[in-house]
Symmetry: D2
Subunit: 348 residues, 4 copies
Amino acid sequence: MDFRSDNITGAHPRIMEALVRANRQRAATPYGGDEITERLQARVRAVFEHDRLVAFPVVTGTAANALSLACIAPPWGAVFCHPQAHVLVDEANAPEFYGAGLKLVAIPGPAGKLDIATLGKMAGAGGRGVHNPEPSAVSISQASECGTTWQPDEIRALAETCRSQTMRLHMDGTRFANSLAFVGCSPPELSWKAGVDVLCLGASKNGALAAELAIFFDPAMAGEFERRRKRGGHLLSKMRFVSTQLEAYLDDDLWLANARHANGMAQRLGGGLAALPGCRLLYPIEANEIFVALPDAIDAALKRAGAKYHPWPGERPGEHAYRFVTAFDTDQTEVDSLVVAARTARAA
Amino acid sequence: MDFRSDNITGAHPRIMEALVRANRQRAATPYGGDEITERLQARVRAVFEHDRLVAFPVVTGTAANALSLACIAPPWGAVFCHPQAHVLVDEANAPEFYGAGLKLVAIPGPAGKLDIATLGKMAGAGGRGVHNPEPSAVSISQASECGTTWQPDEIRALAETCRSQTMRLHMDGTRFANSLAFVGCSPPELSWKAGVDVLCLGASKNGALAAELAIFFDPAMAGEFERRRKRGGHLLSKMRFVSTQLEAYLDDDLWLANARHANGMAQRLGGGLAALPGCRLLYPIEANEIFVALPDAIDAALKRAGAKYHPWPGERPGEHAYRFVTAFDTDQTEVDSLVVAARTARAA
Amino acid sequence: MDFRSDNITGAHPRIMEALVRANRQRAATPYGGDEITERLQARVRAVFEHDRLVAFPVVTGTAANALSLACIAPPWGAVFCHPQAHVLVDEANAPEFYGAGLKLVAIPGPAGKLDIATLGKMAGAGGRGVHNPEPSAVSISQASECGTTWQPDEIRALAETCRSQTMRLHMDGTRFANSLAFVGCSPPELSWKAGVDVLCLGASKNGALAAELAIFFDPAMAGEFERRRKRGGHLLSKMRFVSTQLEAYLDDDLWLANARHANGMAQRLGGGLAALPGCRLLYPIEANEIFVALPDAIDAALKRAGAKYHPWPGERPGEHAYRFVTAFDTDQTEVDSLVVAARTARAA
Amino acid sequence: MDFRSDNITGAHPRIMEALVRANRQRAATPYGGDEITERLQARVRAVFEHDRLVAFPVVTGTAANALSLACIAPPWGAVFCHPQAHVLVDEANAPEFYGAGLKLVAIPGPAGKLDIATLGKMAGAGGRGVHNPEPSAVSISQASECGTTWQPDEIRALAETCRSQTMRLHMDGTRFANSLAFVGCSPPELSWKAGVDVLCLGASKNGALAAELAIFFDPAMAGEFERRRKRGGHLLSKMRFVSTQLEAYLDDDLWLANARHANGMAQRLGGGLAALPGCRLLYPIEANEIFVALPDAIDAALKRAGAKYHPWPGERPGEHAYRFVTAFDTDQTEVDSLVVAARTARAA
């Protein structure tokens, strides 16, 4: 009953099989000059229905995010994001490092989504020429750090504010598949058609071993990505082993199947807990994360039952809250056991 | 009637005389190896009653701040400051540049001073090891960007929070002299005795041509300053011409006399305006800046009279506010003319 | 007959098996907190007979090198290396990037090894305080970029020069296993016992998929490595899949068996070519690379036969030279076919 | 008799007068928005006969050089220069810092000038795409670090090599005035007409207090200069005090008069020494620096007579060499005294 994160998982069997298969070829051109990487490019274009996009495989989300932001914001730029954004608080200043000292600016907003009006005001506030950080980009997480999903029309509204200030829109899509499965629209509808300029599509948390994809819908913005990736030590010589994970991830919609399973488990777990008196969901469950306030007795009972999960800041005075994360391989019986344990504790 | 800023001024005559005098010597050891720079070091130690401090002259406040912060916070560090802090919004990401990608984190608070309780909470929130930016330093402006002054006991309280989180305390003292004159205490009481680790003492806005002083009260923190200053292109070959400005600045308390004059003019101007119906001071006047909401008629009249000053965000709905800055050379008759113009407009 | 590089290979079967095995465990603590990574640490200490070393897995040699150099040289430092060093000419300025602008200084020398006397002179030349780049480290490649091996006594001599100038010694051990197999000594004898401070041990070119290990023999020098790795986006969440490759690499001396095979194939190939009139080895074969000048007729014949390999700058006027690289999986029949093709061409 | 450097000097009286005069105006728009800075721009365009150039005042040559190089070379770029170039060995890695990790590559050549053929070969050697540092710019010093002057035709030849490799040509013109006076051509003939893209025109060593000018002949290359200058802390609020120095420097050809004096003194001193048996000029005197090998007896005699000057690496075995620098204010009687002292020592 380990619900600490979706990054505690291993690889999905089909992704591991793809690795084994890719290894049957004795020799391949290194550094991404191989056939699998070439094939992946075409596949991503098909999936996102966009024939000009360029996609770059890397092995971590931090690398994908930081490299992408460096391509769309100058060293004297400001990149706006939510106060809880992974790029802001969980990446040890990687965006500032890759961006040669760019600045991340926090814009608060409810349920993990920055407030668009505040953004408009903040981005428009500068204007004293060279003195102020130059408003350059906005970064949002899909799903958000609160497990909520940006709907296409919300993204469009945000993108309009970006356009009006000549800012670019970056999406940290670590859990993009989960949001996509939640919304039920097509990949383009949740990305470039809604105004996203760069999407960092996660796979590592949803079935891959270590694979992420930085997708630029406007190739002109990606001009420096390859140099930056190499300079950051992120150009793997045997790149085909990253690309093959991503190919298998998209094959037969494995990514969506995985995400649907994880989302379903989250609904089941969240629903089960929320039904108990004294338990309260902090945010709606719109992907594979549950943020829930629990009475201490339930928390204690769950831990006795062997469940693992992380604490989370409560939103009301005295509230003790927690985060549970499900994944592509979450076992339904474990979810049910956890809910039973909570229910039993409550009854006691 | 130019009240745009104290940086529109020239040099005080005694500082210009010092320059002329320093130029009488034909040759001097370059790069700060000269006698004047050596003398300055001793003088600063005497003024601050601290025999171990080390002080480094530079020509801009941005350089002083950014170089200092880079010495006390690592590239993966977080430096906390007020949302209006000059280092945050007016230095084109210089701290991030010199700090190799460190992060500035905004902590709100009234009247230009960050809230200490919020700081304690934010600095204490991290703890997931290598992922989170490492709380490393706090930077405050003296006077604040709202023209208010940090009192010694306020600084002490802040320094205690810093110590409890092993953070260093940096003071951007662009208008330190104005605050010192306002408080009326000794230089050490407003700096190291209150817990300041590094003071960037401004002179350019208060009578110098281009001279600032980065003062480290703990020389161990300054270990890399000289390398960083050279690498930043801030080690002037003819350093004596910077040092001589600072020496003259401290001579016979010129800095305090200048600050007292500027502060007095601010009180006179602010008092005159605040007495008028419809006018409202946004913050108490505790240095040489006045932030005041004015009725549109008064604003128009002042501009007709030739007065220059900058707009400032109002704090109440519909409020139109402005910033006036006085300086060491502000002419009292100009202040009085401005107040008369405002009074006349009001009466009309 | 693909001899372009040892990075065209896939993974050794035992390493792929280790991956599959590691994937059987459903959940593991992320970011290197897992059991495999812990076990790896102990294993590396045993292999290198050093109970205080710390070892950090990463996925590319560029990352290992650049992160390591940043730990042992300051931004104003100079790192000396051979003009052909991978860190200097093949990593798109990664060392300068991670090192916040440190400087790499080329020191020539025959057969891929920098000249120690020139190094001593260059490193000792500075001394004007803050102006000159501070001599901080020396980086050598093992095997060298010319396929030659630094013998323990050569390393010791170099390390002495480093010590006398308070510089650290970094070894880019991309092909360390090949050199180790060539020399036939123990791992410590070719590293810390000879004076190496930091060894970047390669595995990717010798049987792994994507795995390298930065080994610090003095943990004090590694203090910042973990922060830097995270900030560079090189801390994989599912680190166990990198660690397991390295564990399998060291298990039952797989690394040495692989290296011996590659070296043997290089001797066979190099010996076969060098025996032909008009062919000339540029450097002795001391690892798994052959640098050989070939008559145009032989070059043409090899290419007709389907052989792939890269050109290399000749050392004598008019000389056309080439690089052939063997690997852990080089097929002896391919080597023999190539030699036969060359011999036939020569005879024709 | 202080011949250590031309940076031991103070300011020329006319430059000090300009400072005093600029201070008579009470208020000026800060950060270079003032009239003097505007006037300077027009003046520089007239002097260099180029109506599109843009010129940026800064206070150190290191800042001018590093900021300029960052504008014309990317972080993954290579900038070629002579092994003795100031930017390479005397600026504490400032170019790498401002250039976010760009690489300086040394190209040897006689008498302080890099060899053009070697440059062509080195710049053309890369070509493996993202792996190799991208050849981006060439930087030469005028006068060179050996006191020699690049003639217009030499610059043209170099510029052709730059063009053929799409590299830009940067001139560190710390002693540009001295070279200009030596050649006797017009400013454009020694800069843009010969193919220079960016000229860092020095004034600090030739009569100014602290003033340098980064001149971009193609404004498109300067697009980011202002942001970079601010971010580096080099945008002085009272910029008019830098601009006024430069204006006075160019007024009535003060810069040329100063340079001619310094050059004349160098010829007189160098000629006097070179005429003595056992004394040997290392390089021709083509500006205001003399590099001369002296017998120990003469060196000792000069030092006894109170002369100050720096040692310099000899070029022949056992040779003891020295550098003497003259300046705009060098006293002819001191030069003559020094020569007499040398002659006397020789005779003894």
